[in-house]
């Protein structure tokens, strides 16, 4: 038996694998566009090359369903839903006191997320916000990770207009999916705020005319100095309330573009890396894409959680 080295495989296997990798790198470099522009056409077979990437921002329609255009990113979303629901059903169907492997994995993920929610939002509120935050997190991370599998961006079918389109495309790279998630997050922030604080109290954060009307009332009753100062503070309060409203709405745009930008930039990076040195250069970028997918899901879910926490905090303590 050959001596097992430090890495758990014999030393000769490591040397052999490195040589294969080096040969692959040299051949791809010579066959790809970089080598072709330095050395000219060496007569290497054309299947070693990759076509020039052509990123299209709007997603292409694949077929129509009752008059509704189904794009390739919608098909990828269906795939994510099938995977998530399938795994959850397979675990919940035969749940046991001593968990098997899949159940342990799911318990670890959900336990970690519940811990995260309760750390940021407190015990009771963390449990209340857990379903929405976890749904957003799992949806974004599965969209991002499944789009790295082979098949996304390489299977061609004839689309709705008769041209050749890709069958699958990462769902986060179509701007509609991040926009939908941002709108859902916005609606739930308002819902939790109104549910916890009551409609009037929650809206008083945005339309803050209390101090202004008190100042006007004092002015009419003859107390000029207190009235004028109240009026000025009231105007500042109204302006701050207007800025709060604006920042709530700009949050939708910011969420959308953060997720869309990261995912699209990652996809274009992978396509260009695969184009330049076909077989080898994309490998480190796959690792980067895994990390970026996880971080972006965490950011989306975590920021949603933070805005939930801020929305249910009462601000009555600030009025003098």
């Amino acid at each position: 038996m050959p001596k097992r080295g430090r890495l758990g495989v014999p030393f000769s296997v490591i040397v052999g694998a490195s040589l294969v990798l080096l040969a692959l790198f040299v051949v791809s470099f010579l066959a790809g566009p970089v080598g072709r522009s330095i050395f000219g056409d060496l007569g290497l077979p054309s299947w070693l090359g990759v076509p020039r990437p052509d990123p299209r921002l709007p997603a292409d329609t694949v077929f129509h369903l009752f008059g509704f255009p189904v794009t390739n990113s919608i098909i990828a979303t269906w795939l994510t839903i099938i995977v998530l629901v399938g795994v959850s059903y397979a675990v919940a169907h035969r749940i046991r006191l001593i968990p098997g492997r899949l159940q342990s994995l799911l318990e670890f993920a959900l336990g970690w997320l519940l811990n995260f929610c309760q750390e940021v939002a407190g015990e009771k509120n963390g449990r209340r916000f857990f379903p929405v935050v976890t749904t957003i997190f799992l949806f974004v991370i599965m969209n991002a990770w499944l789009s790295l599998l082979p098949g996304f961006g390489s299977i061609l079918v004839t689309g709705a207009e008769g041209k050749a389109v890709h069958l699958l495309r990462g769902a986060n790279t179509d701007i509609n999916t991040p926009l939908a998630l941002a709108l859902i997050s916005f609606v739930f922030v308002e819902y939790f705020g109104i549910r916890s604080l009551g409609l009037f109290h929650y809206l008083s954060k945005f339309v803050n005319v209390g101090q202004f009307s008190r100042g006007a009332g004092q002015l009419f009753r003859g107390k000029f100095r207190a009235g004028i100062s109240g009026l000025f503070t009231g105007i500042i309060d109204i302006f701050v309330g207007f800025l709060e409203t604006l920042s709530e709405l700009v949050r939708i745009v910011s969420f959308t573009f953060r997720l869309f930008g990261n995912m699209t930039a990652g996809e274009i990076l992978l396509l260009i890396a695969a184009f330049l040195v076909p077989w080898v250069l994309a490998l480190p970028f796959y690792g980067l894409e895994l990390l970026v997918g996880f971080v972006q899901a965490l950011i989306f879910g975590g920021l949603t959680l933070v805005f939930f926490t801020i929305a249910v905090m009462s601000h009555k303590a600030e009025t003098a």
Partner: protein, 76 residues
């Protein structure tokens, strides 16, 4: 100067200048986090969580610049 040349110049400038602000911002954030961590290593959890959250805000601005650069170079 024809349109193709101006497009490429614009894309390069957009991404280059747009990466200055977020880069410096993230550096300042990380500096504050390192200082806090050095003073109080026990508070590692909350410090790291808040640092990652704040870095996401700063990074988003750089991503906006990247989107505009991609739009200029490949779509317009």
């Amino acid at each position: 100067m024809e349109l193709e040349g101006i497009k490429l110049l614009a894309a390069g400038l957009c991404m280059g200048l747009g990466a200055l602000g977020p880069g410096i911002g993230i550096g300042i954030l990380a500096y504050g986090a390192m200082q806090a961590l050095g003073r109080n290593p026990e508070a590692r959890g909350p410090i790291m969580t808040n640092m990652i959250l704040a870095i996401a805000f700063a990074e988003a601005i750089g991503i906006y610049a990247l989107i505009v650069a991609i739009l200029i170079a490949m779509v317009v």
